[in-house]
C-alpha cells in the first residue's frame, strides 16, 4: 500500500540530516588546532638557559684592581676574548664551548652551540671569523635550534686588521640546539 502521501516527512528527514552533516563539516574544517610548532614552551627553557649563560659570560667574576681603566677593572670573559686577535679561532671555540657547559651545569653535554659575531664598520654589517667549525659541533641548520644574542662592548679590539683599537659594540648570536 505505497502511495505518494506524506512525502513531506521524508523530505524533512533528508533535509534535516543534510543540514546537520553540512554544519558539522563546516565547523570542524574551520577549527584551528595548536600544533607543537606554535607553542614555544619547549624552546623557552633552552632559550632562557642560553640567555642566562651569556649574561654570566658577560659579567666579570671578580673586580680586577690591577686594571688601568674602569673598563679593564670589570672586564668580562666575552669582552676579553672578543677583543683579542681572532685570526686563529681554534682556542676561543673550544674554550667557549667548555665555559658554556660549565655555566649551564655539567650534565648538559647534549647542548650544542654555534656562534656568529656581527659588527658595523661604518657602511655595512660584517661578521668576524671567530668560530672554528672544525673543533665545534657541526651546525647543519636542520636540527631545531634557538637563537640567543648578547651585546658586547669592546673598548680596544685587536681587529679588524686595518683599523684596530676602534671601540665598538658587537652583537654575538649563539645558536643552541639539543641533540
Amino acid at each position: 500500500m505505497v502511495t505518494d502521501e506524506a512525502q513531506l516527512y521524508t523530505i524533512e528527514g533528508i533535509s534535516a540530516a543534510l543540514l546537520m552533516v553540512i554544519t558539522a563539516y563546516l565547523i570542524l574544517s574551520s577549527t584551528s588546532i595548536l600544533t607543537p610548532g606554535d607553542t614555544h614552551i619547549s624552546d623557552m627553557q633552552l632559550e632562557q638557559l642560553g640567555n642566562d649563560v651569556l649574561k654570566m659570560m658577560d659579567t666579570a667574576e671578580e673586580f680586577d684592581e690591577t686594571g688601568v681603566t674602569i673598563y679593564e677593572k670589570k672586564q668580562s670573559y666575552l669582552e676579553e676574548e672578543l677583543s683579542k686577535d681572532l685570526s686563529n679561532p681554534n682556542s676561543f671555540t673550544t674554550d667557549f664551548i667548555d665555559k658554556f657547559r660549565e655555566y649551564a651545569g655539567d650534565d648538559d653535554k647534549k647542548v650544542k652551540v654555534f656562534l656568529v659575531t656581527s659588527y658595523w664598520d661604518g657602511s655595512e654589517i660584517k661578521t668576524v671569523g671567530c668560530w672554528d667549525a672544525s673543533v665545534a659541533p657541526p651546525f647543519t641548520g636542520r636540527d631545531h635550534y634557538v637563537t640567543v644574542t648578547r651585546w658586547v662592548h669592546l673598548n680596544d679590539p685587536a681587529w679588524p686588521a686595518w683599523d684596530p683599537g676602534h671601540a665598538k659594540t658587537v652583537l654575538l648570536e649563539v645558536y643552541l640546539w639539543r641533540d
Partner: protein, 330 residues
Amino acid sequence: MIDDSGQMSIDFLIGFTIFIIGIIIVVTLMSGLLVGLQSKTIDLDAVAYRTGVILVEDPGQLNPENPYGYADEWELIDLAYKDDILRLGMALSKDYPNILTRAKVEGFFDSSFFSYPDDYRRTLFFTGEGMYEYHFNILLTDPNSYPSIGEPVPTNQQYGYIKRAVFIKEPPNGAEFICTGDPERVDINFDFSTLHDGDRGPIFWIDPLKEKIIIRLITDAGVELDNVYLSHVDENGIISPIPGQYNLPVTTSGDPAPPYRVNIPDDGSGAGYVEIEFPQGYFEPFSASKFQLSFDFADAAGNPQSYDYDYSVPSLSSPLTPATLEVCVW
C-alpha cells in the same frame, strides 16, 4: 474497533531513519571537539618558569609597614615577623638579575626559619588554603653544596621544569690584621662610604649593612684582652662609644669572651688570635657610616695601633660563584 490506522506511515519512518542516521554521523564527528575543554591541567612549565623568574630576578618584597623599615632585605628580619614577607626572591636587587646573595640563599633554604611547605606556597607560588597545593622541588647546584627544598621529584608523572644559571655574591673573607708588638689598644676603622665604592658597583663592593663581617687579629701569645667595644665616628672625627656596644663576644685561641679579661695563649704557631664576627644586618640599627672597633689590652707595653677595614686588606672580597638553580613543579 481494531484496525490498522494507528501505524505510522512508511514515509515518516523513512524520513525519521534518515534523520537519525544523519544525527549519528554528526555526533560521531563532533565527539572529539569538546573533550579538550574538560581537562583540568595547569600549565606546569609556566608555573615553574614564573617561580624561576621570581627566585632569580627579584630581590623579594616585605610588607611596607614592617617594623624594620626594610624594602627587600627579608634575610635580616627576625622569625617573629616572618609574615611580613610578601614575596621571596634571592636576587641582589632589581637592577642586577641573576646575581644572588649568599645571605638570601642561606635564608631561603633554612628550614628552621621557613616552615615547609606553607611559607613557600604563600610567598612563592601564591596559593593558600583551598587552592591547588603545588608540590615542588627547588635545587641549587653550587660547587660546594647542594641545598634543596621540597619533595623528591616524581618519576612517573609529568612535571614542569626550568633551569636557571646564576652567580652568587659571597660575603667578604675574614680580614686579618697582624697586631704583634703588644699594643695597648687596636682600632679598626670602618668607613662605609669607602666600602661602597662607586667604581666597583653593588655587585663587587662589600656591603657591611647586609653581609657578615669577620675580623681577626693576630697577636703575641700571652696578651690579656680586656674589652672589645664599638664607637661611632662623626664627620669631625670625634669618637663616641655606642651605648651597649661593649664587651662584644669574641672567640680567641684560648677561652672565649665575655667574660673579660681573657688571656690569649699561643695557638701553636707562636702567636694568638682574637676573632669577632658581626652577623649580617648588625650595623643597620646604628644610622651612621663611620665606626671604630676597639680592642683594649691590659698590662700592655706598646703603643696603640690603628688599621682600616677597606679594600687595601688583601683578598677581602671573593669572586662570584657560578651555580644553577632548578625548579620542578607538579
